[in-house]
Symmetry: C2
């Protein structure tokens, strides 16, 4: 399998964590979102992913899967151990809800292309964009997510799930944009639990071959 | 079960379609997003859904599930017929990818609270907001989604899936904001196939008790 990604993309980062947790090896193909006017906009990549976003997972038969959460659900179906989505339907719904709260409420609004639209088409300052980022990260996202967590070692229970695969990349972004979340103890606990794990460490943006 | 929703929320609309397709009856509890300063911000609702968004599904034992896609996955697990997510893992990934392309790339960026931020905090005109809406709906969303569809009667195959549950509410929004998508024949075909079905018709915003 080949994973088309970008070291700093938090959606690609989610999939790297999931692949590592399941012990699946893939070929990593970097798609640089800033170089060459955006390599994701070139025909070679668009033919695989018409949305022009990363990641994409190319299976050995050439089938291309897109959307990080759909890719992780696929991996969980074809390689169920360790399970990233619990077997119990109610617990599965709670895990997915946290993953979706990150993937739908925080990430899209604070995506590079949205920030670029605010700066470009709408002419906003860095300060406006920083305040936008902070607002949607905390009020729209991490603060309500804190309320959705039971307060276990990881997001849910004593092992990582899909929720942790989504949370850790989002926290990496929070730190990068200097947004504090020390007032959210359950999120801090889940982050501390993941930090020691090789699957999370190896997926970190700074350890990717395309990291600059 | 109780569904907390709002007639015009496309996330609630998705869940209504899924419930109808599965023949599940629920009590509908309206949460008016504009009245009383936003009923979703009142403590009674926040205690169920800290994200202050609709929908929420309250099970008979009081458990509350949130995030429309997580709710539909739950319904598909506890009431598998008719399946909204195909059993085949690759096809499931493709269906989920279209659902997520709508739920993650279009909907959050064009959500009422984001449009309000653009108008309020950032002081933009109706024209700016309309252009923002159109841009993310088409370029960020429906146009690439057209490329992701195989061109069947419905989004995938000859029966509705999770993808159709997400597409139809998004198209309702497109029409409401007067954004044309006649140039997207596969999306038009899926819409035409769903239009005749009672499950979709009964879920339409105009048929909800809280519709004004």
């Amino acid at each position: 399998m080949r994973l088309y990604g970008y070291f700093r993309s938090s959606a690609a980062y989610r999939v790297r964590i999931a692949l590592n947790l399941k012990g699946l090896e893939v070929e990593h193909v970097p798609v640089h979102l800033l170089k060459d006017g955006g390599q994701q906009l070139q025909p070679a990549y668009l033919s695989r992913n018409p949305q022009a976003i990363v990641p994409s997972l190319e299976l050995d038969d050439g089938t291309v899967l897109t959307q990080s959460l759909a890719i992780i659900e696929y991996l969980d179906e074809v390689r169920p151990e360790p399970r990233l989505i619990p077997a119990d339907p109610v617990l599965a719904a709670k895990v997915r809800a946290v993953a979706l709260a990150i993937a739908c409420e925080i990430h899209p609004v604070n995506n590079l292309r949205v920030l670029n639209y605010l700066k470009g088409q709408l002419g906003h300052s860095e300060e406006d964009v920083q305040e936008w980022y902070r607002h949607w990260l905390l009020k729209g996202g991490l603060e309500p997510i804190e309320e959705m967590l039971p307060g276990d070692d990881f997001c849910f229970g004593n092992a990582p799930t899909l929720a942790d695969c989504c949370l850790i990349p989002q926290l990496f972004n929070a730190r990068r944009y200097k947004v504090d979340y020390d007032h959210l103890p359950k999120i801090m606990q889940a982050e501390a639990s993941c930090r020691g794990l090789p699957a999370f460490e190896a997926a970190h943006p700074s350890h990717q071959p395309d990291a600059q």
